[in-house]
């Protein structure tokens, strides 16, 4: 078998990507090794010469950052996946809320806090902030946030009951029996949630293209969707 | 009254000591490794007896039978350790005052200034222990124990690293403690001179056992109990009454049934009973009353016994008016003087050899 393929991927993709990698290995006979971490850490590592072949980011910014430095094979940049934001409450609570422009999120919180991923740093947090702004409720809750290191931590705040409500990805909420999805944010309320992928310019592994194609293919698509991702995503805009 | 009957194992060594001492100062005497420190640690409560009991003046400090084990801090025992064990983080003054406040106010008999003066440590009060000389450390350790106003004092070779001059100042204070404050003292020493001067009772340790225990006079005249080199230091201990002071010559006259003895002037009132140690090696025998000899103390008596000490050395026991004086003589002298038990002889002692370390106020 040829040398193993090294994929740098956002940590939230682990479950789906592990399955896909197994599928790919049985089909192509080439081993796939995936290093999961935060997109920022991975991007910086690639910039410092990490021997990765493919990068799958949790947001566009870090892909663009690499792209601007000529570290990606621009032609291969593709929007691999999409996701949706949902409003969740802990399974045991009886809070209700319907998402709509100017809906009274503050009232639904009571004296609790709204768990989100870091609204400046983490993609899920940034999307949540954008959505709340679009819906006109940002100002009423911006002082009542509990910002977590990542979506999973935000979800944990809700599932343990620390925070009555939280905004997380649908993929995370789906799989957690401790939380209940109250409503889904309209896709238009925030910039498209996109997981871009690209072959890195440092990659000399001939298998990279095949793997990237496989990731965009049907087998992979089915697995992604089984985990709650959307595979039908808009193309990456130039300079996005 | 100190009453000890304990056993304690330490590795291969077993201490198994039983003795009683009614005296005010009990000397623990014995070779290195004979178990003196171990015994003292048991009394202080720093070692737990495997079995047995320790009682001081009726107070039970430990009794394995009655399951009593008073902690060291409750025993009110001033322990002067063989190693000084000063607190390195405290100044000398703080070390000295450490035990002060643990004694009930009414029972504090030790005076800070007195003790500091006595021990000559006034100039080091603000220093840390590590900046003291070996002897200074030892003196501070003595002061620290005294200033806790203990009800029993344990001294483990406290004067070993002190010069004679300093010893000469500290010993009388220890004597005064013993006599005036009535604080019983247990005193570990290798020195027969110290023991005979201070001790009312002596406990001789050998290999973890008590080889002999009893009043000082009785023990010190049993010379076999003393180490070979110290044997000459042993001898008779007489109790004598001060019968006169001579201002001109600076001497005092002491009297007992044995006769009159002249010693360097003592600062005690007429009639006081003092103890005089006449070292066997300082006593001579004369078959005729000596004339023109500088030795002024000539006691008439009867040669009671001649006991061989070594092959060539004899102890002559002289009965002087019912009291026994011991003279150490060579076989050569014995033969030349044709000494035989029963014959009348004179015991001759130099006045200067009855030095200040040989005379002590009796209790």
């Amino acid at each position: 078998a040829a040398e193993r393929l090294l994929v740098f991927a956002a940590a939230s993709l682990k479950n789906a990507l592990d399955e896909i990698a197994t599928a790919y290995e049985t089909e192509n006979g080439q081993r796939v090794v995936i290093s999961y971490a935060g997109s920022s850490a991975l991007a910086r590592q690639i910039e410092r010469g990490a021997p990765a072949d493919i990068f799958i980011s949790a947001d566009l910014d870090w892909m663009t950052w690499l792209s601007d430095r000529g570290l990606t094979d621009k032609a291969t940049e593709t929007a691999l996946l999409g996701n949706r934001l949902v409003l969740v409450a802990s399974a045991g609570s009886n809070v209700t809320a319907k998402i709509a422009p100017d809906f009274d999120l503050a009232a639904a919180l009571g004296d609790g806090r709204l768990a989100v991923a870091n609204t400046d740093a983490v993609p899920a947090g940034r999307y949540a902030k954008a959505a709340l702004e679009t819906l006109g409720v940002w100002n009423s809750v911006s002082g009542r946030l509990a910002q977590a290191e990542n979506v999973r931590a935000a979800l944990a705040l809700v599932s343990t009951g620390e925070a009555p409500l939280g905004i997380v990805y649908r993929t995370d909420a789906n799989a957690d029996p401790q939380v209940r999805i109250l409503d889904m944010f309209p896709a238009t309320a925030h910039p498209a949630i996109v997981y871009p992928a690209a072959i890195l310019s440092g990659s000399e592994n001939p298998g990279s293209e095949a793997l990237l194609a496989f990731l965009g293919g049907e087998t992979a698509g089915a697995i992604f969707e089984a985990h709650g991702f959307e595979t039908d995503v808009p193309k990456i805009e130039e300079g996005g | 009254m100190l009453s000890v009957d304990v056993t304690r194992r330490l590795g291969d060594f077993t201490l198994d000591a039983a003795f009683e001492s009614a005296g005010k100062l009990t000397a623990l005497f014995g070779a290195s490794g004979s178990g003196k420190t171990t015994l003292v640690n048991l009394i202080a409560g720093l070692l737990r007896p495997d079995s047995g009991s320790i009682t001081v003046d009726g107070r039970v400090l430990a009794d394995t039978g009655g399951r009593i084990l008073l902690p060291a801090s409750k025993r009110r025992i001033g322990y002067v350790f063989q190693d000084a064990r000063l607190f390195p983080h405290l100044s000398v003054a703080q070390n000295l005052r450490y035990g002060r406040f643990f004694a009930p106010r009414g029972e504090r008999y030790a005076e800070f200034d007195t003790v500091v003066d006595l021990l000559g440590i006034g100039h080091v009060l603000n220093r840390r222990p590590e900046k003291l000389s070996g002897g200074e450390k030892q003196r501070v350790a003595i002061g620290r124990a005294l200033l806790a106003s203990p009800r029993l004092i344990l001294m483990d070779e406290p004067l070993a690293s002190l010069d004679e001059a300093r010893k000469g100042e500290i010993l009388p204070y220890v004597e005064r403690l013993r006599d005036e404050a009535g604080i019983p003292i247990v005193y570990v020493s290798h020195s027969v001179a110290e023991v005979s001067r201070l001790a009312t009772n002596v406990v001789v340790m050998r290999d973890g056992k008590v080889a002999a225990a009893g009043p000082t006079a009785a023990i010190l005249s049993r010379l076999d109990l003393l180490p070979a080199d110290e044997m000459g230091e042993g001898g008779a201990v007489l109790e004598m009454r001060v019968s006169g002071h001579d201002q001109v010559f600076g001497v005092s006259r002491l009297r007992s049934a044995a006769g009159e003895v002249i010693v360097p002037r003592m600062a005690v009132t007429l009639g006081t009973v003092v103890r005089v140690r006449l070292r066997a090696r300082d006593v001579m025998i004369a078959t005729e009353k000596p004339v023109g000899l500088s030795a002024q103390n000539v006691l008439a008596g009867t040669l009671a016994a001649l006991e061989p000490v070594t092959d060539n050395m004899f102890d002559a026991r002289i009965d002087c008016g019912g009291e026994t004086i011991v003279a150490r003589i060579t076989k050569l002298s014995m033969v030349r003087l044709r000494l035989e038990a029963g014959q009348p002889v004179f015991a001759v002692v130099k006045t200067v050899s009855v030095g200040p370390d040989a005379v002590a106020a009796a209790r």
Binding site: S40, A148, E149 | P71, S73, F81, D83, G99, E130, R144
Partner: protein, 233 residues
């Protein structure tokens, strides 16, 4: 504080970090001493278990520690409920929680330092103090602890430094609320997550280092004074 170019949020992160590190160090000190004493002197069967327990925060990834804190000391957690009800202290989303997380993460370091010093204390000196009439607590207060001072000081500085740098457990337990639970490390982390945030992150890191260095220098001077006064023992 314009000369540092700090925004209000950053400035409050600095103040909060200081407060958290201060209280984390101070509040854990008595427990640190106690546990160190038990570990250094105790001879009971559960000793090694306690020892292991104390080391846990060092062994587990900080996120796990934070998560466990969330489960136990969070508003819904049993310990959290107990503290809130009986002692009037709540930890969740409060700086107190951050202090708790930091204290816990620094605890193994503090305990080990104190314990090392305690184990080096000559028990003969304690025995001497006892013969002078000092009871167990007095001996502890006047002999044992003063002699263990170098280790206590070292333990405090380690705990302080750790608290200044602790990130994983803090953010997991009390989140990252500017002005309330955002410490220097969580602020630094936030900056590092976005492209171009490096310079702000470096600025805050430098501030954090400066504070800890000041504490370190202070503790060293103090330690040197102690050593000078005591000398070679």
């Amino acid at each position: 504080m314009d000369w540092l170019g700090l925004g209000p949020d950053e400035w409050s992160a600095v103040k909060l970090s200081l407060r958290i590190a201060f209280w984390a160090t101070l509040a854990s000190l008595p427990f640190g001493i106690l546990v160190a004493l038990v570990l250094a002197r105790g001879r009971f069967p559960g000793r090694i278990l306690l020892d292991g327990l104390v080391h846990l925060p060092l062994i587990m990834p900080p996120v796990v520690t934070g998560y466990l804190l969330l489960l136990s000391f969070g508003a819904k957690g049993p310990a959290g409920a107990f503290f809130a009800e009986y002692l009037g202290v709540t930890f969740s989303f409060r700086w107190t929680g951050a202090a708790l997380a930091c204290a816990l993460m620094g605890f193994p370091l503090m305990v080990r330092a104190i314990r090392l010093s305690l184990e080096a204390v000559d028990t003969k000196l304690e025995a001497a103090a006892a013969t002078l009439g000092a009871g167990r607590l007095w001996v502890l207060a006047t002999v044992t602890l003063p002699l263990a001072l170098p280790g206590i000081l070292a333990g405090m500085i380690l705990a302080f430094a750790k608290a200044m740098g602790e990130f994983g457990a803090t953010i997991t337990f009390v989140s990252n609320i500017p002005g309330e639970t955002q410490t220097l490390p969580t602020a630094i982390y936030t900056f590092l997550q976005v492209p171009g945030g490096e310079s702000a992150a470096i600025r805050l890191t430098v501030i954090s280092i400066a504070i800890s260095m000041a504490a370190l220098v202070g503790s060293e001077l103090l330690a040197r004074r102690i050593a000078r006064r005591r000398g070679g023992a």
